[in-house]
């Protein structure tokens, strides 16, 4: 009976990003409830490393793979390897174009970007200058978010995106680039950021420039410090993505698969925009 | 009259404020050995570097076989038939002897007229053959870094000999060689002269010049002061022309000996003992272990030396122990004693940084005073302490190393060929310094390839053969070059 114990392999895109840390927590929690083992590999946005990791998982004998593919095409070799080993492979958060993808549990990044843009536009009355601090160049999630945002903003003739940089998801960079953005455009109405860490840095710069309340900062992910910042008014908006839930759903879907159920191709996980109005309900201690 | 094989006309070369060469003209005929002599820093190496394509002259022309040449790199000079053995050893330590010797033109294996890779067998054969002429038979595949300094010098000479060249330039080739190798080398040079090769020969061993050279050009402060033919010059005349002074005559008084300064406590075949006021010489052929004795006492050899220093037992496993015990060493390889990229001042102070530490930090003025005094004492030229050591002439570099230990005020000096590449006047000066050092109660262990130097300077000479003491001679019993030569088996 011991050898019957199911081991599933997990290959997320990063191991140092709160989103993926929570996702892995969800996966582990659900797997434990089912009595499964979890084997992880990490890749930190290196596609080849992710393919290699999935290969290693398969060599290790896992029964299924949960993957957060770094790129929609780039890691298709990992899906091929799973297909060759005849095991299911489910994409979490990001999706793949591979025909061998069993299921995609995803978020609609462009849609979220559009919603942030619309929310921001409403807050600033459809007028003014906007800066964008986008995540690392080339990472599709951040590119999609930013594209959605830009698309939606283009519909407001009074809004101009006057500043845009791409770079790492660090708080330090948030401070530095927001400082520069505020020097270049002291009358900035809003700063879009791709993640809460950049956002919290940007908030610091806004406060230091005495623009609190006048320059709105929007974040992404809904991590606890960001929620606190929304509550005390520094951060205007963040988006709760429920990564814990994604992890759980991913494992549930695998369990369904093992029971022989037919899976649909794609499941979207709902997201929630969090601003001052609804932040109290989301605070972690509530 | 035939065309000179190489001719330099009206060469001027400045380095910043220093005029290394000032309107120098010079030529060498096919089948002639033309010696170039002058004090340290006179400009000899600079002149041959210009001939060899390393430097471009500021003014003046170079002619090879009557053709004006403008070399922009050594490569072009080599292609024009000029082979040089530079003063500083220039070999690639990681490569084998054979490869180093073939470096400029590696021989190719041919099949059906096509080159199909290196001809290693030929490289080895040529290396062996060339070195055999110098009576040196190493494994040609041995990396050069595993050779002792003197043997590397032989490889460098072999490298130049191997090339078929019209002009051969040797810049102090014998500085680290023993009489045996030197005799061999002269034999080879003589044969090449007969074959019509033009040879430019630089040395501070003036007796060599007298016996070897057909013609001699004397440089002083970057100018030609005299050119004379064989028979027209002797050592005294050369010294007079080089320095503008009458040659020093060397007085030989024996200083009185004091207490034992250093004594090895392990019994060994090459154990040493040194008393205050004593200059002990180490004589031996190439590879006899002179260097090893000195290195051991300085803590650089793998096995630590166990010694009594002024009666106190010490274990020397690291130079810092040796220096702390009052020992300084001038290594046989000049480059090991100097930080080439740093100033003369920094190099002189290298071993005595803690001496000038005061509570307020580093005592610059005291340090500068010491540096100035020592540069004066040792006549280090030019007298610019901020100049990088790499910009000094070879002989002056050698004096900087000595100055380093005088600045530290050590009790015991271990000297490995300390006067190699040093001009006659400076050599006499260094000898006087060594004698003075001993007179003030210091002890000196002097390894030298110059037997004359040992005979003049030492109270005792220990002859080494294959790492053992094979003879011990006292000044009181009479010391002479011939006697030493017999003792070391040369």
């Amino acid at each position: 009976a011991q050898s019957e114990k199911i081991t599933i392999g997990v290959a997320l895109a990063q191991d140092d990003n709160p989103l993926y840390i929570l996702m892995l927590k969800g996966i582990r929690a659900r797997a434990q409830e089912l009595g499964w083992e979890v084997a992880t590999v990490s890749s930190n946005e290196d596609k080849l490393k992710q393919i290699n990791g999935v290969q290693d998982l398969i060599a290790r004998g896992v029964k299924a793979v949960l993957i957060s593919p770094i790129d929609a095409v780039g890691v298709n070799a990992a899906y091929d390897a799973a297909a060759q080993a005849k095991i299911p492979i489910i994409s979490l958060a990001r999706g793949s174009s591979s025909p061998n993808q069993t299921l995609h549990v995803g978020i609609n990044e462009k849609q979220i970007g559009r919603e942030i843009a619309e929310w921001t536009a409403k807050q600033i009355g459809g007028q003014g200058k906007v800066a964008m601090l986008v995540g690392p160049s080339g990472a599709p999630a951040f590119r999609n978010l930013a594209e959605g945002y830009t698309e939606a903003m283009a519909k407001f003739p009074g809004i101009a995106i006057v500043f845009r940089t791409e770079g790492p998801l660090s708080r330090e960079r948030g401070v530095k680039h927001a400082e520069d953005a505020l020097v270049a455009n002291p009358d900035l109405k809003a700063i879009y950021t791709s993640n809460d860490d950049i956002a919290l840095g940007a908030v610091q710069a806004v406060v230091a420039a005495n623009r609190k309340g006048q320059t709105l900062v929007t974040g992404m992910n809904g991590v606890p410090p960001a929620l606190r910042a929304v509550k005390d008014g520094g951060l205007a908006l963040t988006v709760e993505l429920n990564p814990l839930t994604w992890g759980r759903i991913g494992v549930d879907k695998l369990s369904d698969f093992f029971k022989g159920e037919k899976l649909e191709n794609q499941v979207f996980i709902p997201h929630v925009l969090i601003d001052r109005a609804n932040v109290d309900a989301k605070m972690p201690n509530n | 009259m035939t065309e000179p094989a190489a001719r330099a006309s009206g060469i001027t070369k400045r380095f910043g404020a220093t005029a290394a060469l000032d309107d120098v003209s010079f030529d060498v005929m096919p089948g002639e050995i033309h010696a170039l002599v002058g004090e340290n820093g006179a400009g000899k190496s600079t002149l041959i570097r210009i001939l060899g394509g390393v430097h471009g002259p500021d003014r003046g022309e170079i002619y090879v076989d009557g053709q004006a040449c403008h070399f922009s790199s050594p490569r072009e000079a080599i292609a024009a038939g000029i082979a040089t053995i530079p003063q500083e050893l220039r070999l690639v330590p990681a490569l084998s002897i054979a490869e180093n010797m073939a470096l400029g033109d590696l021989p190719m294996r041919k099949r059906l007229g096509f080159a199909v890779g290196l001809d290693r067998a030929r490289m080895r054969r040529e290396a062996r053959e060339t070195l055999r002429v110098l009576d040196f038979a190493p494994d040609p595949d041995c990396p050069v870094r595993q050779l002792p300094f003197g043997e590397r010098q032989l490889v460098a000479i072999g490298k130049a000999l191997r090339r078929r060249c019209r002009v051969l330039i040797l810049d102090e080739p014998t500085a680290a060689l023993e009489s045996h190798e030197i005799k061999r080398l002269f034999g080879v040079l003589g044969r090449m002269r007969e074959q019509g090769v033009a040879i430019i020969y630089i040395s501070h061993r003036l007796d060599e010049i007298v016996s070897l050279a057909d013609r001699c050009t004397i440089l002083r402060d970057g100018r030609v002061v005299a050119v004379s033919r064989r028979g027209e010059f002797d050592v005294a005349a050369l010294v007079q022309a080089m320095t503008g002074r009458i040659g020093h005559d060397i007085h030989t008084e024996t200083p009185s000996l004091g207490d034992t300064l250093l004594e090895e406590t392990q019994s060994r075949e090459d154990g040493m003992r040194l008393r205050a006021g004593e200059v002990v010489g180490l004589a031996g052929l190439l590879g006899s272990g002179k260097g090893r004795v000195l290195r051991r006492l300085f803590g650089v050899e793998a096995e630590p030396a166990r010694v009594l220093i002024k009666g106190a037992p010490k274990r020397l496993s690291n130079p810092s122990h040796a220096v702390a015990a009052g020992i300084g060493m001038v290594p046989g390889e000049r480059g090991l004693g100097l930080i080439m990229n740093q100033s003369v001042r920094d190099n002189i102070l290298l071993a005595s940084l803690d001496r000038f530490a005061s509570r307020k930090g580093f005592d610059r003025s005291a340090a500068d005073r010491t540096v100035t005094t020592l540069m004066e004492l040792l006549d280090i030229r030019p007298r610019r302490a901020e100049l990088k050591v790499s910009a000094l002439s070879g002989g002056n570099q050698q004096k900087v190393i000595l100055a380093k230990w005088l600045a530290r005020e050590v009790d015991i000096l271990l000297l490995d060929d300390p006067t190699q590449g040093v001009d006659v006047a400076a050599k006499a000066q260094i000898h006087a310094l060594v004698r003075d050092f001993a007179k003030r109660g210091g002890g000196v262990l002097l390894g030298s390839s110059d037997l004359g130097e040992l005979a003049r300077l030492c109270g005792t000479v220990v002859a080494l053969h294959r790492g053992r003491i094979c003879a011990r001679m006292e000044r009181t019993d009479g010391l002479s070059e011939q006697k030493l030569l017999r003792a070391i088996g040369g």
Binding site: D46, N52, R60, G74 | S73, P74, A94, L95, N100, R145
Partner: protein
């Protein structure tokens, strides 16, 4: 200190990379029987292939006494250009264009470093950043060839010839070829000579600048080939590919016994260095070591491997 070393010690020292690799393999094979499964061994070969090609190029530069931080960006550039051209002008032109891009980057590095005499670290750091910018510019930051690269190209990234992946054949053939160049041509020996002593080589009539420049061209070319291989493996040109490859490649070369001051190094040992890095990652994955602990283990093993080399070597 250098003068304490003897021939015998050197000989033993030369074997350390191989011994390290064997110890690592033995350890993992004992810990999990999956390590020696044919699937896993194949995986290791394929996983090593691309880095091996890069490490070969890096070995040239390091033997020549240089340093190249730009290989990661070059890999991305070649891959993206290969994919871009391939989509428009077909397989062969795509591959040629990809490799040519690598040659060009190598030439740029070589000219700046050898002819202008600029420090290699700072030059290649500059090209690393610059080339990455160019990659993003020409791809607008998005992967290239998502709509499908030629199927033969994709097959090259995943299929086998004589039971061995095409991707593995490339470094294998290159290793044999380049080892011959390194040891049996004057060009190869000159690289060793220049790396081991610039002044001595210059005075021996070796065209030092040209030799140094050539090492960067080799490195760029091989990074270009690696970029094309990576594009085949990723079935697309990825603008973010190759980050940190420079550090991995240099680490592999140094673990393979090359000296960063130049003049020493062997191509096949650099490949062993790559295997050490890959097998290490593979073992940690097979043993399901937590990813944070993996970092600790990788760091510790790198240091330990290098230290073992030194400890054996001292008396």
């Amino acid at each position: 200190m250098s003068w304490k070393q003897t021939a015998a010690q050197l000989h033993v020292r030369g074997l350390t990379p191989l011994l390290t690799l064997l110890v690592l393999c033995a350890f993992t094979a004992l810990a999990t029987d999956r390590f020696l499964s044919p699937l896993n061994l194949t995986n290791i070969l394929v996983q090593s292939s691309i880095m091996a090609v890069i490490a070969l190029g890096m070995t040239f530069v390091i033997i020549g006494g240089g340093f190249d931080l730009s290989v990661g960006s070059t890999v991305a550039l070649s891959g993206c250009i290969a994919a871009l051209v391939m989509v428009k002008a077909g397989l062969v032109l795509g591959i040629v264009a990809g490799i040519a891009a690598g040659v060009l980057v190598g030439l740029l590095n070589g000219v700046v470093i050898a002819l202008l005499g600029v420090n290699p670290f700072i030059t290649t750091l500059g090209t690393m950043v610059l080339v990455r910018g160019v990659v993003f510019l020409i791809t607008a930051g998005a992967p290239v060839g998502d709509e499908g690269l030629p199927s033969s190209f994709v097959a090259f990234g995943s299929e086998r010839f004589l039971g061995i992946h095409y991707l593995v054949w490339v470094p294998a053939v290159l290793l044999v070829l380049l080892s011959w160049v390194m040891h049996n041509t004057p060009h190869g020996r000159r690289i060793y000579a220049v790396g081991g002593g610039r002044d001595a080589s210059y005075l021996s009539g070796i065209p030092v600048q040209r030799v140094i420049a050539s090492t960067y061209v080799w490195c760029g070319t091989l990074a270009g080939i690696a970029g094309v291989m990576l594009a085949a493996r990723l079935q697309s040109g990825q603008p973010t590919a190759g980050e940190f490859y420079e550090l991995t490649a240099i680490a592999a070369v140094v673990l393979g016994g090359a000296a960063l001051h130049g003049g020493e190094g062997t191509l096949y040992k650099s490949v062993i260095g790559v295997f050490i890095m890959v097998v290490l990652g593979n073992s940690l994955n097979l043993l399901n070591v937590d990813s944070y602990w993996q970092r600790v283990a990788v760091g510790a093993v790198i240091i330990a491997a290098a230290a073992a080399d030194r400890l054996r070597w001292r008396r």
